[in-house]
C-alpha cells in the first residue's frame, strides 16, 4: 500500500491539520484533473486521469477521521473488516444505547436538554477521535483498535443527530 499521506506531503499521523490537507488537495486536483488535459495526447490524459483518481481516493480516505483511522490501522497490520465484526465493549454499548434513545426522542426534549445532548454527542465524538490519535501515535495498536470501533458508533449517532437538527432548522 503506497503512503497516501506522502501524496500531500504530510506526515503519516492521525492528527493532521485538516485545513492544510484540504488546501493541498484543491491545488493538486486542480492541477491533475482530466479537464486540464483535454488537448493533450492520449498518454498524458491517461497518466493525469490515474493521478487525479489517486488524489481523490486519498483525499476521501484521509479527510474523515473514521476512514483515516481505518487506513492507519491497516498500515499497522490490523484487518479492520474483522475488527468491524467483533462486538464492542458491553459497557460502552450500553452507554451508546442510552444516547441513541435520547437522540430518537430528540423532538420531545426541552431546549436545555436538547443542547446538552448535542454537546454530549459531539464531545464524545471528538474525545474518542483525539484518543484514537494518541493511541496511534504511541503505536498502541490494541487501544487504537478499540477507539476506532467506538468512533464508528459515535460517527453514526452524530450523523443521525445532525439530520434531526437540520430538519428542525429548516421547518
Amino acid at each position: 500500500m503506497s503512503d497516501l499521506f506522502q501524496l500531500f506531503d504530510l506526515p503519516a499521523t492521525f492528527s493532521i491539520d485538516e485545513r492544510v490537507l484540504e488546501q493541498r488537495y484543491q491545488a493538486l486536483i486542480a492541477h491533475c484533473h482530466p479537464d486540464r488535459f483535454t488537448a493533450a495526447s492520449a498518454l498524458e490524459q491517461r497518466v493525469a486521469a490515474k493521478r487525479a483518481a489517486d488524489i481523490n481516493d486519498a483525499y476521501q480516505t484521509l479527510s474523515h477521521p473514521v476512514s483515516r483511522g481505518r487506513y492507519l490501522l491497516e498500515v499497522a497490520g490490523v484487518d479492520t473488516q474483522v475488527l468491524e465484526r467483533q462486538p464492542a465493549d458491553s459497557e460502552f454499548l450500553f452507554d451508546q444505547l442510552m444516547r441513541r434513545e435520547r437522540v430518537q426522542e430528540f423532538t420531545s426534549l426541552d431546549d436545555t436538554e436538547a443542547a446538552e445532548l448535542v454537546d454530549d454527542v459531539r464531545h464524545q465524538y471528538h474525545h474518542t477521535a483525539t484518543a484514537l490519535g494518541t493511541s496511534l501515535d504511541a503505536n498502541d495498536v490494541a487501544a487504537a483498535s478499540s477507539r476506532w470501533v467506538e468512533l464508528n458508533y459515535h460517527q453514526k449517532l452524530l450523523d443521525e443527530l445532525e439530520q434531526t437538527l437540520n430538519r428542525q432548522v429548516s421547518r
Partner: protein, 620 residues
C-alpha cells in the same frame, strides 16, 4: 510578497490555432446549441422556429425530420412522431409506467414503434444531436472539434452511458458530459466569482419537468449536494390550468381536438403576455361567440399557486437532504421561471433574489458552450476546474442479497477504488460480479447496472482466493469494473453499459450505416485520426523532453528518441495500422517518463501551496 511559481509544463496556447467547441443542451422538450470564444457566447439558430429545436423527431418518411418540421407532422402521424425521448434514456420496458407503454415495441431494448422500424431513445437523441451539430456547423461554416452535452444532475450511470452513446452515434467528439445545474452556474460565472465558498440552488422549471439542485462551490471545486424535483410537473401544466380557466369563462364544453389545441395556444400566449404586463386580453376567431376576456396577473397567480407550492415542497426536501444552513445564490432555469409569481415565490422561499438576467431557456446551453471552449483547448489555464461527484453510490452484491458499497455517493470524480473478496465454497471456480447503484442496503432496492462472471479461478479451499474488484469512474461519471483473482491473475472486466442499451457492436454498426461515413470517408477519417493522435504524442514528447530530459537516464533518452524516429518514419506512409502500432509503442515507451513528469509537476503544485500558506501566515 507572494512568489509566483510558473508551472514548467504550461502549454503555450497562443501558438495553437483556435479550436471550435460547442455546448449542447439536450432537453426533454427543446434542445439548443451555443458557441463561445471565451468573451462572447451566443446561441446558434438551427431550426425554422429559432434558437429552440423542439426535441421531436418524425420517422414517417425516408429520412427523419427533426424539430419544428417534425412537430408539424405530429398531428398527421402521431405514432411516427417521437417526443420526450430523454425521459426514457437508459431505461428498460420494466421501468416504463403501464400508461406510457403504448408507444413502445413490446420487447427490450426499449424502443419506440414507428413506420421506419423500432427507434431506441438513444437513436432518437442521436438524430437530435446530429441535427444540432450539423446545422450549427453549417451556420458557422466550421467543423466542431468537440462538444459538451448537458445531462440532469440526477442522471444515473445508465442514463449517462446512453447519452454518451447517442453522441457517439451522431459522430460527435464529446469533451465532457456536464450536469445541467453546473452549466447554469458556469453561465453566470459563479465558478470563478465565488472565491471562497458558497451554496447555490438551481431552480429549473421546464415545459414538462421540474428539477431542483443544491450545489456547493469551493474555490472552483463544485459538488452537487442534493437533487430533487418532479418529472411530471412543468410549465405545460400551467398552460392546462389557464386553458381550463378559459373554457370555464367561456362556458365551453365538448371541445374538438382542434379547439383544445387553440385553447392551449391562447393559454400559452396569455401566460407569456402576463410576464410583461399585469393583465392580458384573450380573444379568438375560433370561438366567435365568446367575448374577449381579461386575465389578470392575480388570476394567474391564483391558478398557478398549487403548482408552485408543489415545486417549493420539492425544494424543501432537497435543502433538507443537502444539510445546508443557508443558500447564497439561486439561479433560475427554464422558460416557466419568467412568470413573476414563480420568481416571487422562489425569492421568498430561499430568502435571496434569484439570478435571472440570462434567458432562462438558454442559460444551460450557454454554460455548456463556455465550458466546451475551455475544454477544447482555448482556455487560459487558470480556469476553474468543475469537479463533479457521483450522484449515487456504486457497489456490489454480496451474500444474502446485500449491497456492499465500493464508491460512496458524492465522491469527487474521477475516482478508482478496489475491494477484496474471496470464495465462499471449496473449489469454487467462478464468481458473479453484480454491479449496483443506489443508497439502499438490499439488492432489490438498488438499480442493477451490470452482471458479469469471473470464471476460471483454479480450485482452492474456501477463502483462499483473493479476488480484487476494481471500480473506475471517469470525469463524466461513466463506470468501468474489473475483477482479478490475484494469486493466479485470472481477469475479467467490462465497461458498464445500460442494462438494456446498445452493445458496442450495435453502436459501431449505426456509425457505419449513418450516411456520414461512406466507406471511402471512413478510411480517410481513420488515417487523419491516427495522424492527429501520433502528432499530439510527438509534440507532447518534444515539449516534455526539452523541459524535463533530466528525469531520464542517457539510455532511456536514446531509446525514446529512437522510438520517436520510428513513429515519424511510419507517419511518412499512409499505413494506418503501422502508425497506430508505432504510436502505441512510443506511448508505452514514454509512460514512465510521463509519470515522472506528472509527479514532478505535482511537487511544484504543492510547493506553490506551501508558499501561499507561508505568505498568508506572515501577513496575519
Amino acid at each position: 510578497m507572494l512568489l509566483q511559481i510558473a508551472e514548467p509544463d504550461t502549454p503555450v496556447e497562443n501558438m495553437r490555432p483556435r479550436r471550435l467547441g460547442l455546448g449542447i443542451d439536450l432537453g426533454t422538450t427543446n434542445s439548443l446549441i451555443a458557441r463561445s470564444d471565451g468573451k462572447d457566447t451566443s446561441l446558434i439558430a438551427v431550426d425554422s422556429g429559432g434558437m429552440l429545436l423542439p426535441s421531436v423527431v418524425n420517422y414517417s418518411g425516408d429520412i427523419p425530420l427533426v424539430g419544428t418540421a417534425a412537430l408539424a407532422l405530429a398531428v398527421r402521424s402521431p405514432e411516427d412522431t417521437v417526443a420526450s425521448a430523454k425521459r426514457y434514456m437508459g431505461r428498460s420496458l420494466d421501468d416504463v409506467p403501464l400508461s406510457e407503454r403504448s408507444v413502445f415495441s413490446d420487447s427490450d431494448p426499449l424502443a419506440f414503434a414507428t413506420q421506419a422500424g423500432s427507434k431506441t431513445p438513444v437513436e432518437v437523441s442521436a438524430d437530435l444531436l446530429r441535427t444540432l451539430a450539423q446545422s450549427a456547423e453549417r451556420v458557422l461554416s466550421e467543423k466542431a472539434d468537440g462538444v459538451v452535452v448537458t445531462v440532469p444532475a440526477y442522471f444515473d450511470d445508465s442514463q449517462r452511458q446512453a447519452t454518451r452513446q447517442a453522441a457517439d452515434i451522431a459522430g460527435l467528439n464529446v469533451l465532457r458530459l456536464l450536469n445541467e445545474p453546473t452549466a447554469a452556474a458556469v453561465a453566470y460565472g459563479l465558478d470563478t466569482s465565488i472565491t471562497e465558498s458558497g451554496v447555490l440552488a438551481v431552480y429549473d422549471l421546464g415545459g414538462g419537468t421540474f428539477d431542483i439542485s443544491i450545489l456547493k462551490m469551493e474555490r472552483g471545486l463544485l459538488r452537487v449536494l442534493a437533487t430533487g424535483g418532479d418529472t411530471a410537473l412543468g410549465g405545460d401544466d400551467i398552460d392546462t390550468l389557464i386553458a381550463d380557466w378559459l373554457a370555464d369563462s367561456w362556458v365551453l364544453d365538448e371541445l374538438t381536438t382542434a379547439e383544445q389545441r387553440e385553447l392551449r395556444r391562447l393559454a400559452r400566449e396569455a401566460k407569456e403576455g402576463l410576464t410583461l404586463a399585469d393583465d392580458y386580453q384573450v380573444a379568438s376567431a375560433v370561438f366567435p361567440e365568446a367575448r374577449a376576456v381579461t386575465i389578470t396577473i392575480d388570476t394567474l397567480e391564483r391558478i398557478a399557486t398549487p403548482l408552485i407550492q408543489k415545486t417549493l415542497a420539492a425544494c424543501q426536501l432537497a435543502v433538507d437532504d443537502a444539510s445546508v444552513e443557508r443558500i447564497d445564490q439561486v439561479v433560475l432555469v427554464g422558460g416557466s421561471t419568467r412568470m413573476p409569481s414563480v420568481q416571487a415565490a422562489v425569492q421568498a422561499f430561499f430568502g435571496c433574489e434569484p439570478l435571472c438576467s440570462i434567458n432562462p431557456d438558454q442559460v444551460v446551453a450557454i454554460g455548456a458552450a463556455i465550458q466546451a471552449n475551455v475544454l477544447v483547448g482555448n482556455g487560459s489555464g487558470d480556469d476553474a476546474v468543475l469537479l463533479d461527484v457521483t450522484p449515487l453510490s456504486l457497489g456490489l452484491e454480496t451474500y444474502g442479497g446485500l449491497v456492499e458499497k465500493v464508491i460512496p455517493r458524492n465522491s469527487a470524480l474521477p475516482i478508482a477504488k478496489a475491494q477484496d473478496f474471496t470464495t465462499a465454497k471449496d473449489s469454487q471456480t467462478g464468481l458473479i460480479v453484480h454491479v449496483l447503484q443506489g443508497e439502499r442496503e438490499r439488492v432489490e432496492d438498488c438499480r442493477s447496472l451490470a452482471r458479469f462472471e469471473l470464471s476460471g479461478i483454479p480450485a482452492m479451499v474456501a477463502g483462499a482466493a483473493r479476488i480484487r474488484v476494481s471500480f473506475k469512474v471517469d470525469a463524466d461519471g461513466l463506470l468501468e469494473v474489473s475483477a482479478v483473482e490475484e494469486t493466479t491473475q485470472t481477469e475479467a472486466s467490462l465497461v458498464v453499459k445500460p442494462s438494456f442499451g446498445l452493445s458496442d457492436d450495435e453502436v459501431a454498426d449505426m456509425l457505419r450505416s449513418s450516411q456520414e461515413f461512406a466507406a471511402g470517408d471512413m478510411t480517410v477519417r481513420q488515417l487523419t485520426e491516427a495522424r492527429v493522435e501520433a502528432e499530439a504524442l510527438l509534440d507532447g514528447l518534444d515539449g516534455a523532453l526539452s523541459a524535463d530530459a533530466d528525469l531520464l537516464t542517457a539510455t532511456e533518452l536514446d531509446e525514446l528518441v529512437a522510438e520517436q524516429q520510428r513513429l515519424r518514419a511510419a507517419m511518412g506512409t499512409d499505413d494506418v495500422d503501422a502508425i497506430r502500432a508505432q504510436t502505441q509503442q512510443l506511448g508505452e515507451a514514454s509512460l514512465a517518463f510521463a509519470e515522472r513528469r506528472m509527479d514532478r509537476s505535482i511537487k511544484s503544485a504543492l510547493s506553490g501551496v506551501a508558499i501561499d500558506a507561508l505568505a498568508a501566515s506572515s501577513t496575519d
